[in-house]
């Protein structure tokens, strides 16, 4: 079995209003070394699949078809064995 750990973030070129709000809040708490905050999504998908190559292909396909919107979002993922 493999778990796909998928991270989704808004593209660098797209304004991230949540990230900015969190950045400001951290500043208010006194953390004055915060360079930038970005808020995204984390998805975990358990796959009944042991072949990493097949899993890689499937996860990429699922991201492109449903999980992310390529107009505004980028994604990365890792496959972990369980």
């Amino acid at each position: 079995m493999l778990i796909a750990q998928i991270k989704v973030l808004l593209k660098e070129s797209v304004l991230d209003p949540q990230g900015q709000a969190v950045e400001k809040a951290l500043g208010t708490l006194g953390y004055n070394n915060i360079e930038k905050v970005r808020v995204g999504k984390y998805l975990e998908i358990m796959l009944a699949e042991n072949n990493r190559e097949a899993a890689n292909k499937q996860v990429r396909e699922m991201c492109e078809r449903l999980l992310i919107n390529a107009v505004i979002e980028d994604y990365t993922f890792t496959l972990v064995e369980v």
Binding site: L10, S13, V14, L15, P17, Q18, A21, L66, L67, N69, V71, I72
Partner: protein
């Protein structure tokens, strides 16, 4: 002119749209459940506002896979008139029937208030009966209506006349203060290249009667009638 209002689980503007078309515009209208696989017999489809599938993942991301959406897509590609309002607009961009994406309002607030819309292109089925220079007072109610396109796409939309409505102030000036959600270029509504599919965040069906504060929403539907009558001659 026969209208179909598509109903997804979590739609809530479907009843407003139905009431507006049936009682105010006195046109035949049906609800179309999202499990339907045919939209035959309709002249115009409305994808209403609401929170289809609880807005899970991204607004409109799951609704676009409803069985009815294949029929809606075929209808649109054959030139059928489609209007997506609010969540319906989000579904149309997710389905790839309209360019761009809609995401979290830049101010992070849910905005529920009247807006003033400047018409950018009068040569479309949705705007052909609108008096030139007339601002439309139409309400919004959304938290994720921040329209995004990259710079190249924006230039293409401008060149092809696909930008239909922009948020303006009461005097018709396009200002940052009049932009309720951070949308690129104050865009409130766009259409496809063929000009038969419109998506807009403001709700014209909620501006159909003076008692509601405005009946400017009728002008968009008057345009549809004018276009439709013209196309039948």
């Amino acid at each position: 002119m026969k209208f179909g209002v598509v109903v997804f689980p979590g739609s809530n503007g479907d009843i407003d749209a139905y009431h507006f078309i049936k009682d105010v515009l006195a046109q035949p209208v049906d609800h179309i459940w999202h499990q339907e696989e045919s939209v035959a017999g309709y002249d115009c489809l409305i994808l209403p506002g609401g929170s289809s599938y609880g807005d899970y993942l991204r607004c409109g991301a799951i609704a676009r896979f409803s069985p009815v959406m294949k029929a809606v897509k075929d209808f649109a590609l054959r030139g059928g008139l489609v209007v997506g309002i609010g969540n319906g607009f989000q579904i149309l961009v997710e389905a790839g029937l309209l360019p761009g994406a809609l995401y979290r309002n830049a101010n992070l607030q849910f905005r529920c208030r009247f807006t003033y819309l400047k018409v950018e292109n009068y040569h479309t089925p949705f705007t052909v009966a609108i008096e030139h220079g007339r601002l439309l007072k139409i309400p919004i109610a959304h938290g994720e209506g921040n329209y995004y396109v990259d710079e190249d796409t924006l230039q293409r939309l401008k060149a092809k006349g696909q930008i239909i409505f922009r948020y303006a102030d009461e005097q018709g000036e396009i200002t940052a203060a009049a932009n309720p959600d951070g949308s690129v270029f104050n865009i409130a509504g766009v259409c496809n290249e063929n000009k038969n599919v419109l998506g807009m965040m403001p709700h014209p069906e909620r501006a159909g009667e003076i008692i509601l504060g405005s009946d400017d929403g009728k002008m968009i539907f008057d345009s549809l009638f004018k276009h439709w009558e013209g196309s039948r001659l």
